[in-house]
């Protein structure tokens, strides 16, 4: 009759599944954030050319801050697009 309930204390909540994301720049200290490196920066952009939030990529706050600055610098010199959809 009544729905089954899991007894006892709940496990700590982890939405979704899968492994914990780690910051790529923390994991690999030799990987530098450089606005000239459009290839690396490009992996942090969405299809539309928007910067992917850190909560998705797992980048730590410090590196995400540097990343956004680098992306914006790269955009001013047309190494990266502002948008893939032309106005």
């Amino acid at each position: 009759m009544a729905r089954e309930r899991t007894g006892g204390a709940r496990p700590p909540r982890r939405r979704g599944m899968g492994r914990r994301k780690v910051c790529r720049f923390c994991a690999d200290k030799t990987l530098l954030i450089d606005y000239k490196d459009s290839r690396t920066l490009g992996t942090f952009l969405s299809e539309r050319g928007k910067i992917i939030p850190a909560r998705i990529t797992g980048t730590c706050a410090r590196h995400q801050r540097r990343l956004t600055v680098a992306v914006k610098q790269a955009r001013t010199v047309a190494l990266l697009p502002y948008t893939s959809v032309y106005p």
Binding site: L32, D34, Y35, K36, D37, S38, R39, G42, T43, L45, E47, Q73, R75, T76, V77, A78, L79, L80, P81, Y82, T83, S84, Y86
Partner: protein, 136 residues
Amino acid sequence: MADRRYETLVLIHPEQGEAGSKELAARIQALIEDQGGTVSQVQEWGQRELAYLIGKQRRAFYVLFEYRTAPKALQEVERNLTLMEPVLRFVSVRQAENAPPAPLRPVRRPDREDAEGGGEAVDEGEVDLVGEREMS
């Protein structure tokens, strides 16, 4: 005032041609040195496709300057760059003192033209979708 380490990436109008862009690069280097800077490296990336149109142009010559100079002098260099007609755009960034010098051929090969997307694998081995999208 202590000198600082900077680098400036300059985009030169494609109409200048290979020779014209080299000449302009030399002029810019002279400009930096006139302001009391010491240029440690000049990198010519050649003509590259732009990620978006600038001044109705699809491509431009990229030249990177690495140098040390005083902040005041940088201002003057930047002011002069804005006055140069063939300079489409530029960005100056302060580099950390201990940062390694920019590696040669830092991004992708400048002479790539129509090998877009397909020829990627030959380039560096690691191909990612993003690199290809960037070309379109």
